[in-house]
Symmetry: C2
Subunit: 191 residues, 2 copies
């Protein structure tokens, strides 16, 4: 991330955005400073304000970027027979992977405050819960979809935010083995 980069406004702006995304996901909005974000992009803190106006606007662009990305929660993925295994694998491998598709979720978790809960609820329902619900067959689809998200959120919370050692140090294969039947039970046609 610190490779020498020639003067390139677009590349610098993208580097700041990427560093901010990593930082917000790791420590929350208040947990990371603009100097640290800038350092991760190989520039000084003032570049953040020059390109994004303020730290708050930077957060807005990070969220906008995440929301614009494709999600695994497409109908064809959800309806695939191995979706339970795929989401379990994705969830377990988040830490090792350099790219983190669930950054948005982590940022919401770690930056959540009283007034942010409503925003988070709206975005979760629009971008995650509705897609999942529409692709589930059987009864109680909204509730089952919500519990799937709850399991994902709880696992992330305990493993990445709290750092519960039984999850942080566990063999990924074991975690997959335990998570997959949970998802399968929720995703399979109910009743």
């Amino acid at each position: 991330m610190a490779e020498t980069r020639r003067r390139d406004a677009a590349a610098t702006k993208a580097a700041i955005l990427a560093s901010a995304r990593r930082g917000f996901a790791r420590s929350g909005y208040d947990g990371v400073g603009v100097r640290e974000i800038a350092e991760g992009a190989g520039v000084t803190a003032m570049m953040v304000n020059r390109y994004f106006g303020s730290k708050e606007q930077l957060l807005g662009e990070v969220i906008a970027q995440i929301m614009a990305e494709p999600t695994i929660l497409t109908r064809e993925n959800i309806e695939a027979p191995d979706f339970a295994a795929r989401i379990a694998t994705l969830l377990v491998d988040i830490t090792a992977a350099g790219d983190t598709p669930l950054d948005g979720f982590l940022i919401m978790l770690r930056s959540s405050s009283e007034e942010a809960a409503a925003i988070a609820r709206g975005q979760i329902e629009a971008h995650y819960h509705r897609r999942l619900t529409n692709s589930l067959a059987g009864d109680l689809a909204p509730q089952r979809a919500a519990i799937v998200l709850a399991v994902v959120a709880g696992f992330q919370l305990m493993r990445q935010v709290i750092g519960l050692s039984a999850l942080a140090d566990a063999d990924p294969d074991d975690l997959r083995t335990l998570l997959e039947p949970l998802f399968r039970q929720l995703l399979d046609r109910h009743r």
Copy 2:
């Protein structure tokens, strides 16, 4: 909260603890300052350091206080033969009640700093995870216990904190029906 209190070390210490608990639950460890906490207790900021040593130790005592209160995961519940059904019922009922055992969860969720997460991790592992692990038969007991806690936490997060409508407005019986087999799968002897 600001009633005049005569010089009383125990009462002042309890007032600081209560104010800190409210503040941490509302804004997280980093979101509330010692001056604000002290003001909520009717004293000055230095009282925090005099009675608790540091803000970090204050958080430790707040969490310790919460951990000592009645909770879903008591030993007698864990050792009951129908624990999966009971924990599903208790989880749904307690979440619906909207009471203050949620404080501890809110604090952990909204405190993203490293030292706060470390304290929360230590308390969870000492009080919840260890009891649960010791009561589980079969392989992967620590991992299964941790995922049980993750499901509990995720459910509370989505239903109570985020307020996901599919969970907040759901019929409690339906939620119980969906949660119980998840817990049963994790709690029953594995392999």
